[in-house]
């Protein structure tokens, strides 16, 4: 057992990544509707997030055991700036790139089948 007093920096940084993770999970459109059929949900995340990260993250936040995680890296689209509005708009030679993201598809146990769409308010 190492003395903690001799390693102050080690204690702080590891704690912050374990107890205070900063990961976004954003459900992609229409995957909530097809969840009943195939037990799969699709998310958008950062490119730096790994498969095991997603597994533990979903278990910690939503109490759901994830069987399998598939990931795809998606490149951002290259777009050109448009000057003007509507039909009058002309494309300029200036181009920019939208942000890259990672698609993550999780498969869940079939016992957890439930409609995952917006519920009606109880009021």
């Amino acid at each position: 057992m190492a003395n903690i007093l001799n390693k102050p920096a080690l204690g702080t940084r590891l704690m912050n990544s374990v107890f205070f993770p900063n990961i976004k999970l954003q459900v992609i459109r229409n995957t909530g509707k097809t969840f009943e059929k195939n037990n799969k949900l699709m998310f958008k995340t950062d490119c730096s997030v790994g498969k095991t990260d997603i597994k533990t993250y979903v278990k910690a936040l939503y109490d759901v055991n994830v069987d399998k995680v598939n990931t795809i890296n998606v490149q951002g689209r290259i777009k050109s700036c448009i000057k003007g509005f509507g039909k009058k708009g002309t494309r300029l030679n200036v181009k920019y790139k939208t942000t890259d993201y990672k698609k993550a598809i999780i498969t869940v146990d079939p016992s957890l089948k439930a409609p995952l769409s917006r519920k009606k308010s109880t009021k």
């Binding site: 903690i4 702080t12 205070f20 976004k24 969840f35 869940v108 439930a114």
Partner: protein, 197 residues
Amino acid sequence: MNNILRSGISNIIKGATYTQRAAPAAQIAPGSTIINNNTRSLGDFFEHKYPVGSYPLAGRSWTATDLRGKSFNDLHEIWFELLRERNKLLTEKELNKNKNLINPLRIKKVRKSMAAIKVVLGERDQLSKSLYLLRVESEKGNKKRVGELQNNIKRLNKLVGAVSLKPGLRDLEGLQDTLKVGEELESNIDSLVNKQN
């Protein structure tokens, strides 16, 4: 007055209710005073549909002054609630037409309160690190550096208060008073040595 504010804040964090050691409920994280009665599932990614004419309400965000008295486990629980809230808001943004939220300032409030938690954690980290440095510098006998560190510790002690710094680092708390260098003692010893010579 404080309770009224708290109830307003808990509207941001849906499902979390602030109670001071009330009756035990279904889910209690070890070492925290926050009780959560909701059962968690993947349905938490989606918000319920609001009837026409009504809109989602939100109180104000957490500030650093609210969070300074809280323990590490409490902050950890609040952080997870905020993560759940942010995921829900982002999916709502994706599902809505034109990717617009109804009450778009909610995302900003979540971000601000996450920043406040990091501020509080940073203060505690600074205190523990400066306490460690004080021990090292006092062994070396660097008086100028020791004075700087002691001023820094005095400033941080007021902010952090009597909260445990980190889980597993309770030894550091006891050192706060014992680490002080007795300058009077040293000067007395110096004067004694000079007299003998």
